[in-house]
């Protein structure tokens, strides 16, 4: 494809370099967004979720486990408080509650978005709920063991997940949990190896910062 000509590129470069949001806008919009993230679901959305109660109950467990693992780093390694789980669970359950079904009322109602073929095909590509549930259950058990101060026990669940779902949907969460567990057992060499492997494989993961901070006193744990 022929590249864009010089005068067009110059116009784009000039505008791009100069067009930036007012400095105070980032904090201001975060406050507004944060309020929306924690807002209760509207009544119609709640009713819609009740109609698919059977699916939701399964999915909710999955979401609980996924979220549990997702906040593992914070629970194990950080003093920083985590937000109310209910606030996060409700919308997340809505998103996952209809794996291959059209319009998700809660999502559409609040954001006024139409479902796109991209969204629907993304849902269709998700692993079956039963496999995902099993994965999430294993990692949920690992998380509970970690929270109970039994990292060695957690590692057995993590190993079981690894054997059963080597390429599972929650591989990233599992490997992050493994780093946290190894750190907690004091297995410094193994922990650092797992930490570095994670950061090499998923350098842009949302869990990367937590994994990086998981064993703060071990050599090589810094960026």
């Amino acid at each position: 494809v022929k590249p864009l000509d010089e005068q067009a590129r110059q116009l784009i470069a000039e505008v791009s370099a100069a067009d930036s949001p007012p400095p105070e806008l980032e904090a201001e919009l975060w406050q507004r967004l944060s309020a929306r993230l924690h807002a209760p679901l509207p009544p119609t959305a709640a009713a819609a979720s009740q109609t698919s109660a059977a699916v939701s109950s399964v999915v909710l467990k999955v979401v609980v486990a996924v979220l549990a693992v997702g906040v593992l780093g914070a629970v194990v390694q950080r003093q920083r408080s985590t937000p109310s789980p209910e606030a996060d669970l409700a919308p997340r359950a809505q998103v996952q509650a209809a794996p291959a079904q059209p319009p998700d009322p809660a999502l559409l109602e609040e954001t006024q978005l139409q479902p796109t073929t991209a969204v629907l095909s993304e849902r269709a590509q998700q692993p079956p709920a039963s496999a995902l549930l099993e994965e999430a259950q294993l990692l949920g058990q690992a998380q509970r063991a970690l929270s109970a101060g039994e990292p060695a026990h957690a590692l057995t669940f993590i190993a079981r997940h690894r054997a059963r779902f080597p390429e599972g949907a929650l591989v990233q969460e599992r490997e992050a949990a493994r780093v946290f567990a190894l750190c907690a057992t004091g297995e410094a060499a193994q922990a650092v190896a797992a930490q570095q492997a994670f950061l090499r494989t998923w350098p842009r993961s949302l869990l990367a910062d937590r994994v990086r901070a998981a064993c703060p006193k071990t050599p090589g744990a810094t960026r």
Binding site: A74, R80, A118
Partner: protein, 168 residues
């Protein structure tokens, strides 16, 4: 998960803001749409597969959100005069004219061409990245990019000729 979405927001706030502007939104529409983008991202984080970068993934969400805001407002917000009202107050007159021109040229592209053009030419995504993020075939993306570039260049040429070569 709020921690995760906050990290995502802090890292990509400027990128999403800029993208929504280039996708034709202005002022309060940008602010509302930006919140919608991160709200949707928050809900979909669990299904983020990491095949595309977070930036590309957010851009794909931004395209849908921007289209929805345009539809909801019932008009094409890619209004050439809008750039002037929402330009940074410190912008010089000449720079604001350039912004106005860029947005007018982008408004001349189809929605599909504009999305690919902005990703490739303004945000410097590679074509494979764009294809992955938009769920399109490589050839489709190349074709949209080629047509978008041609149309953009022709419109820019016309603009310069109209102003006798003394235009910005």
């Amino acid at each position: 998960m709020t921690l995760a979405i906050e990290a995502l927001y802090r890292a990509h706030f400027q990128f999403v803001w800029r993208s929504l502007r280039r996708l034709g939104l202005r002022d309060s529409s940008v602010e509302d749409a930006l919140q919608d983008v991160f709200l949707v991202a928050h809900r979909k984080l669990a299904t983020f597969e990491g095949r595309a970068s977070h930036r590309a993934w957010l851009f794909a969400i931004a395209i849908r959100v921007a289209a929805e805001h345009r539809r909801r407002d019932g008009r094409l917000i890619l209004d050439p005069d809008a750039s002037l009202s929402s330009a940074h107050p410190d912008s010089t007159f000449e720079l604001r004219q350039r912004m106005q021109l860029l947005d007018r040229l982008l408004a001349g592209l189809s929605d599909e061409q504009r999305a690919v053009f902005v990703m490739a030419e303004i945000e410097q995504f590679s074509v494979p990245e764009i294809a992955e993020a938009l769920g399109e075939k490589l050839n489709t993306v190349y074709s949209r990019l080629r047509l978008g570039r041609e149309r953009f260049e022709r419109a820019l040429d016309r603009h310069r000729k109209q102003l006798g070569g003394s235009a910005p």
